[in-house]
Amino acid sequence: MSKMLMIYPDRCTGCQNCTLACSVFHDGEFRPHTSRIQVTTWESEGFSMPTTCQQCEDAPCVAVCPTGAMHDDLTMNRVAWDEVKCIGCRMCTLACPFGAVVFETGRRRIIKCDLCDGKPECVTFCPAKALDYVEETDSARDRKKAVAVEFKKTFEEVK
């Protein structure tokens, strides 16, 4: 069975260890700006929200790629990106409504979660278990949906 990345924002402490681990794993340096996972924090609510590629089925970024560089990788249940085929046209960045596909102009490359080829560093280094890499089951998918509800609740409770 394939695995999926689960995010539990309610457990997130906002420490950004995920972004640090991600950037150093992929780029060999601590440059959180180019991390494939990003954490948004609202200090007054004491709430943080990690976001990264959802590895969509029927991903819009795959549909629009004119070279097949962005493609489905069924063996790892992910949307994968092939640097050799990519021309840097940014159709994928324009397609993703979550902004989870980023084009780095300086290096002409796409920055996007690749699940670290099956051993996500963000999960390894998350001290709060806010990130988990789990078997993709119905209940896991349901929990993923519940995240949006939790997010909403957090901000509704304020004030």
């Binding site: 309610d10 457990r11 402490t13 906002g14 420490c15 950004q16 260890n17 640090l20 681990a21 950037s23 150093v24 794993f25 780029d27 060999g28 340096e29 601590f30 440059r31 959180p32 700006h33 180019t34 924090t41 200090e43 007054s44 609510e45 004491g46 709430f47 280094f125 001290p127 709060a128 304020v158």
Partner: protein, 600 residues
């Protein structure tokens, strides 16, 4: 350079000039960064006798070499200046995003000089450094300022700013970053206010590099495992925050109560971490790169003290709680929120209220002095009102804004001020815990627990259990802790990592980050160098051995109740040995040999 960026900003607020200067590898290795490097520049560029709130004082923001990496909980930067509360060398440490962001923007440090003619803030985005007008945000609270600046610059920027307290030169004003993180002690926020500098906002898209990412990863995993295996990385701090200490100090009889009149507070549990977790905690929070998560996102619903925000941590809960004879957690937390929003140090604020209550109960001051407010120990509403008045600069609040020493002195009774070198002592009673008393007395920025946290062995039993009632061996212990902490502060790590990591682990992390072979001995020597440098600054500023003392109350008036009843601190048994082990003469002055050995 690895670890370091090797570059810093020098900004003259008077002329508006911005210069980018280089940090040489030799200097970086000598002082690491943060507190050490900042103190070096203070010592070489500023007359220690300078008026702290004059344009001639400098204000330095400095991160350490580990800052910006994922070394566990390595997010600390220091604000270094001559502190206005007591005129000593001040280095206030804070975690959060600011330090790492500064490095990602391409700088290890910012040196601020002079004084701006009008309120300004700095916007640093990688190579772009702008001095911007702050007329619109002057007067705003910390969250308002943070939001306004982010809105004008970048949503993801880190904002270090002062609140209205810093603008009004409250002598214990903080520099706040990410709203709830504070460079909290000694009044560095007032220095910032005196320069008409409201905030520094930073956004960096660059990188911190290490020589061998794989090897560094191993060092990080190893260090993290040590921390996690230790008490600090376990459930305790994450579930209960630092406020979990209230009960252990109270059970020991070392919880200063009612302005240090006592060392035991029967209802302390009501303001302890267990109660906090049950009543107010929303969720634990972590600083940047933190694996401990001692931060508290809390919410008070009680309409009298309603609010939401960060805290309280232990010293805060103590200062507004037991030290004022108060056991109302809602009120304590509210006072914390006000301090966060206005940018004030909670320890000095709470202790100053406690001191005022003490003066009031003993009839030194009356309602005529206090705007009609009766100041009795235990009065939660009066306490919150005094905090508010100080924050707003109202009436008696203006007196409190001077800190407890100057306030008590103005009524002719400085002995009511529970301070060392005019800075308020935090939440550990030196009568019950001998070693911490020596540390308070010798602290280079005055009464302070984070200059040598001997509570670790003396109370918490880490790394070994040492008897708090014993003075023997404590001078050596204090020196070790003081030096270790100085080097740690300068490397960018959080002090809490020392519950799991020793000097050898820290030296290993530093070596992995910088590519230099920094041994344990070198690491400790760097700490000693920094400590002695700070001492030299203070001596040149006019301080002397006479200032290495505790308030008389702690050496002459025994604890009244509880397990430590009858005890006093015996600093006289420790101080001479401390000087000797430090390599200082009997007047507390470092000998030539000592300085030469340290390369000073």
């Amino acid at each position: 350079m690895y670890g370091w960026i090797g570059r810093y900003l020098r900004i003259d607020l008077g002329s508006g000039t911005v210069r980018k200067e280089v940090i040489t590898p030799d200097l970086a290795r000598k002082y690491l960064g943060g507190r050490g490097l900042g103190t070096h520049f203070m010592m070489t560029e500023v007359d220690p006798k300078v008026d702290p709130l004059s344009p001639q004082n400098k204000l330095i923001f400095a991160a350490g070499p580990l800052c910006g990496t994922n070394a566990p909980s390595a997010s600390h930067y220091d604000v270094i200046s001559k502190g206005p509360l007591n005129g000593t060398i001040a280095a206030s440490s804070s975690g959060g995003l600011f330090g790492p962001m500064l490095k990602y923007a391409g700088y290890d440090m910012i040196i601020l000089e002079g004084k701006s003619a009008k309120p300004v803030y700095l916007w640093i985005c990688d190579d772009v450094v702008e001095i911007r007008d702050a007329a619109e945000i002057w007067g705003k609270t910390v969250p308002e300022t943070t939001e306004a600046i982010r809105s004008a610059t970048d949503e993801e920027a880190s904002v270090a700013c002062i609140g209205p307290a810093g603008e009004r030169l409250v002598l214990f004003a903080n520099v706040m970053n990410e709203c709830g993180r504070a460079a909290g002690r000694s009044g560095v926020g007032a220095v910032m206010g005196s320069k008409n500098l409201k905030a520094i906002a930073v956004r960096g898209t660059g990188a911190v590099r290490v020589p061998d990412p794989k090897a560094f990863r191993e060092a990080v995993v190893k260090a993290s495992a040590k921390i996690k295996a230790n008490s600090v990385g376990g459930k305790g701090l994450k579930n209960y925050g630092t406020d979990v200490l209230v009960n252990i100090l109270n059970e020991l009889g070392g919880l200063p109560t009612r302005n240090f009149l006592d060392g035991y507070f029967p209802t302390a549990d009501k303001v302890g971490g267990e109660s906090l977790a049950k009543q107010l905690l929303i969720r634990p929070r972590g600083c940047y790169a933190c694996i401990i998560s001692c931060g508290r996102a809390t919410k008070v619903t009680n309409p009298k003290f309603a609010g939401q925000g960060e805290g309280p941590e232990y010293e805060t809960a103590w200062a507004f709680g037991p030290d004022c004879g108060i056991d109302d957690l809602d009120a304590v937390t509210k006072a914390n929120y006000i301090c966060n929003d206005y940018g004030m140090d909670t320890i000095t604020m709470g202790s100053s209220v406690a001191c005022a209550m003490n003066l009031f109960e003993n009839g030194v001051i009356t309602t005529k002095d206090t705007d009609g407010i009766a100041l009795n120990f235990g009065d939660a509403e009066a306490m919150v009102e005094l905090v508010r008045k100080t924050a707003e600069g109202e009436g008696f609040g203006k007196k409190l804004a001077l800190g407890s020493y100057r306030m008590a002195e103005s009524y002719g009774h400085p002995e009511y001020s529970m301070t060392c070198k005019k800075q308020e002592m935090p939440a550990y009673d030196p009568r019950a815990i001998q070693g911490i008393g020596l540390n308070f007395a010798t602290g280079n920025r005055g009464g302070c627990h984070v200059r040598g946290y001997t509570i670790s062995p003396e109370v918490l039993g880490q790394p070994v259990k040492l008897d708090p009632r014993v003075t023997e061996g404590k001078p050596a212990l204090d020196i070790t802790f003081q030096d270790l902490t100085a080097a740690l502060d300068s490397s960018g790590m959080c002090l809490f990592t020392t519950f799991g990591l020793g000097a050898e682990d820290l030296a290993e992390l530093l070596s992995a980050a910088t590519g230099l072979n920094i041994t344990t001995e070198e690491f400790m020597k760097i700490g000693a160098r920094i400590w002695n440098l700070e001492r030299l600054f203070n001596l040149k500023a006019g301080l002397s051995a006479l200032d290495d003392k505790l308030p008389e109350r702690l050496t002459k008036e025994p604890i009244l109740t509880g397990p430590s009843k009858g005890l006093v601190n015996r600093i006289d048994e420790m101080l001479p040995e401390y000087y000797k082990l430090r390599g200082w003469d009997s007047a507390g002055i470092p000998t030539k040999n000592t300085l030469a050995d340290l390369g000073l």
